[in-house]
C-alpha cells in the first residue's frame, strides 16, 4: 500500500497521523474527554515505553507472536499446497471446491468454543483458530493465481524440455506467486486480528489478555498500550512481507 517515493509524500502521509495525535491531545487538554476515559497521548506513549522495557510485557508479546507465526505458517503451507493441487488436478478440485465453499464464509471465531473444548485452553486452540482464519484467503488466492497461469507458458516449458513433474515448481508456482503473496498479506492481517481476539476471549498471557485485564480494572492507559503494540507489530510484519514480495517478484513488471 505504501508507495512513497519522495519526502513530500512522506510528509503528506505523516500529516493525518500527527493530526490524529493533535486532535487526541486537544480533546484531553480542552476537557472534552475526561482523562480516565481518554488518557493524553504522552501518558500512553510513556507507559508504552515503560511496558516495552518490562519482562512480563515482553513475554506477552512473545506469546502473541509465537501463536501468530505458528498459525500463519500452518495456513500458508496448507493454503498454498491445497490451492495448487486444486488448480492442477480435477479430482482434488471436485472435492476441495464444495468444502471450501461451505467453510470459507463461516465465521471461524464461532468455532473457537469448539476448539477450546477439543484442544484445551493452551496454545493449540489459538494456533488452530489463527490457522483456520488465515487459511482461506491464502487458499483462494493461490487457487485463483494458479488457474490464470497461461497454458502457453506450460506448453513452452514442456517444449523446452522441462520434465512435467518440474513444471509445477518452475512454471506454475512462480507464475502464481503475485496472487499467493496478496493472499498471504490478507491472511497476515487477519491473523493479527484473530490472535488478539482469541487472547481476549480466554488466555492467561498475550497482548489480548493485557487489554482485557486493563479493561476489567478500568485502566484506560493500559488499554491503549496493547492496541498500539499490535498495530505496530502488524505494520512491521507487513513491511517484512512487502520486502519478501519485492525480493521474490524481482523479475516481474511492477507488481
Amino acid at each position: 500500500m505504501i508507495t512513497t517515493r519522495t519526502t513530500n509524500e512522506w510528509l503528506l502521509g505523516a500529516a493525518p497521523i500527527v493530526l490524529v495525535l493533535l486532535l487526541w491531545q486537544g480533546l484531553v487538554s480542552f476537557g472534552y474527554a475526561p482523562a480516565t476515559l481518554l488518557p493524553p497521548p504522552v501518558q500512553v506513549f510513556l507507559r508504552m515505553g515503560q511496558q516495552l522495557a518490562s519482562a512480563t510485557f515482553q513475554q506477552d508479546i512473545a506469546a502473541t507472536l509465537f501463536r501468530l507465526f505458528a498459525g500463519f505458517a500452518i495456513a500458508v503451507v496448507l493454503g498454498v499446497s491445497i490451492g495448487i493441487a486444486a488448480a492442477v488436478s480435477p479430482p482434488v478440485n471436485a472435492v476441495v471446491r464444495p468444502i471450501v465453499r461451505v467453510l470459507a464464509p463461516l465465521p471461524k471465531v464461532a468455532l473457537y468454543p469448539a476448539f477450546l473444548l477439543l484442544l484445551g485452553f493452551n496454545h493449540e486452540s489459538k494456533i488452530m483458530l489463527v490457522a483456520a482464519d488465515a487459511l482461506f484467503p491464502i487458499l483462494l488466492s493461490t487457487y485463483y493465481g494458479a488457474t490464470i497461469v497461461e497454458q502457453k507458458l506450460i506448453w513452452s516449458a514442456l517444449a523446452a524440455g522441462t520434465p512435467p513433474r518440474d513444471v509445477l515448481w518452475k512454471v506454475v508456482l512462480p507464475a502464481a506467486m503475485p496472487s499467493i503473496l496478496t493472499g498471504c498479506r490478507i491472511g497476515l492481517v487477519i491473523s493479527c486480528i484473530v490472535v488478539f481476539l482469541a487472547e481476549m476471549i480466554t488466555s492467561t498471557d498475550g497482548l489480548g489478555h493485557v487489554l482485557v485485564t486493563a479493561a476489567r480494572t478500568f485502566q484506560a492507559v493500559d488499554m491503549f498500550v496493547p492496541l498500539i503494540t499490535i498495530s505496530l507489530l502488524g505494520l512491521i510484519l507487513n513491511g517484512l512481507l512487502q520486502g519478501l514480495r519485492a525480493y521474490l517478484l524481482r523479475g516481474f513488471p511492477s507488481v
Binding site: 500500500m1 505504501i2 512513497t4 503528506l12 502521509g13 505523516a14 493525518p16 497521523i17 476515559l37 488448480a87 492442477v88 478440485n93 471446491r97 464444495p98 468444502i99 465453499r101 461451505v102 470459507a104 464464509p105 463461516l106 465465521p107 471461524k108 471465531v109 464461532a110 468454543p113 469448539a114 473444548l117 477439543l118 482464519d133 484467503p137 494458479a146 488457474t147 490464470i148 497454458q151 506450460i154 516449458a157 514442456l158 509445477l168 506454475v172 490478507i186 497476515l188 492481517v189 493479527c192 486480528i193 481476539l197 481476549m200 476471549i201 479493561a215 478500568f218 484506560a220 488499554m223 496493547p226 492496541l227 499490535i230 498495530s231 505496530l232 502488524g234 505494520l235 510484519l237 507487513n238
Partner: protein, 258 residues
C-alpha cells in the same frame, strides 16, 4: 446431470462434514464434544425461543447497518485514493496503522464512551468492514486503464463523471473482492463484539452457553452462525455474479501439463 451435481455439491460437502463430526465425536467420547445429531437437535429450541430469535435478528440488523454504512463511506474514499496520488499519500500510512488493529478489541474502549448499546457495536462493525473495502477499491481504481479515462475526458466527461462512470465499473470486480473480505470480517466482529459486550446478540448466546457448560447449545449456535455466514455469502455471490458478469474469468479449466 453435471449441472445438478454442481449445485448439490456444497450440500454434499455439508453432509460430509457433519458425518465426519458425528464419527469423530462418537470416536472421542468426550463429554464436551456432543455428536452432530445432538447439536442439530438443539437447534429448534433455540430458533423457536422468542428471546433468542430477537437476539439473532438484532445481530443481523447491526451487521447490515454497519456493513451498508461502511460501503457508502469506503468505496468513494478508496476510488479517490486510487485516482489521486496526493489523497493516497495522505491516507495510506494512517490506514496501514489501523488495518491490523482488531476492531472488536476497540470494543472495551468504545464501550467506555458510547455505552454497551447498538451504537458502539455498529461502529465496531463499520470500522472492521471499512478497511478491506477501502484497500481493494484503492487497488482496483489504481489499475484502471489510463486510455479509458483519456477517452472519457476527450468525450467531455467531468472528473466526477469519470470517477462514477469509468473508474467505478472498472474497479467493481476488485471492490467486490474487498466487500467479501469485509463480509467475513463483519461476521467475526459481530460475534466478538457481542462476546465482549454481553448484552444481546448471537455471540452473547454462544459464549454464555460456553461459560455455563451447555455444550449442545454451544455447538448448535456454531451451526446457526455458520449457516448465517454461508447464506450471506451465497446471497453476496449471486449479487456479485450479476454485477460483474462481463468480467468472469474461465475458472473451471484445470491446468494440464501431462
Amino acid at each position: 446431470m453435471k449441472g445438478a451435481l454442481k449445485h448439490l455439491s456444497p450440500a454434499l460437502a455439508c453432509c460430509g462434514l457433519l458425518l465426519t463430526w458425528q464419527l469423530a465425536s462418537l470416536g472421542l467420547k468426550n463429554d464436551s464434544f456432543p455428536t452432530a445429531l445432538d447439536s442439530l437437535r438443539a437447534i429448534p429450541p433455540i430458533l423457536t425461543d422468542k428471546e433468542a430469535l430477537i437476539n439473532i435478528l438484532a445481530s443481523l440488523r447491526r451487521m447490515a447497518i454497519g456493513f451498508a454504512l461502511a460501503l457508502a463511506f469506503s468505496i468513494p474514499l478508496g476510488l479517490l485514493m486510487g485516482r489521486s496520488r496526493a489523497t493516497a499519500a495522505f491516507f495510506n500510512p494512517l490506514l496501514m496503522l489501523v488495518y491490523p488493529v482488531p476492531k472488536a478489541a476497540l470494543m472495551p474502549i468504545i464501550m467506555l464512551w458510547l455505552g454497551v448499546g447498538d451504537v458502539s457495536k455498529t461502529l465496531v462493525i463499520f470500522l472492521g468492514v471499512s478497511l478491506p473495502v477501502i484497500y481493494h477499491s484503492f487497488e482496483g481504481a489504481k489499475a484502471v486503464e489510463e486510455k479509458m479515462l483519456w477517452s472519457g475526458a476527450a468525450m467531455g466527461l467531468s472528473a466526477g463523471e469519470r470517477l462514477l462512470r469509468i473508474v467505478l465499473p472498472a474497479a467493481l470486480p476488485e471492490i467486490l473482492t474487498g466487500c467479501r473480505t469485509g463480509l467475513v470480517l463483519a461476521l467475526i466482529t459481530m460475534v466478538t463484539s457481542e462476546m465482549i459486550a454481553r448484552q444481546s446478540g448471537a455471540g452473547n448466546i454462544l459464549f454464555n452457553a460456553l461459560d455455563m457448560g451447555q455444550y449442545d447449545t454451544v455447538f448448535a449456535m456454531i451451526i446457526i452462525i455458520g449457516a448465517m455466514g454461508i447464506c450471506l455469502d451465497a446471497v453476496f455471490e449471486t449479487i456479485r455474479r450479476w454485477l460483474v458478469r462481463w468480467s468472469e474469468p474461465q475458472f473451471d479449466m484445470p491446468l494440464s501439463f501431462s
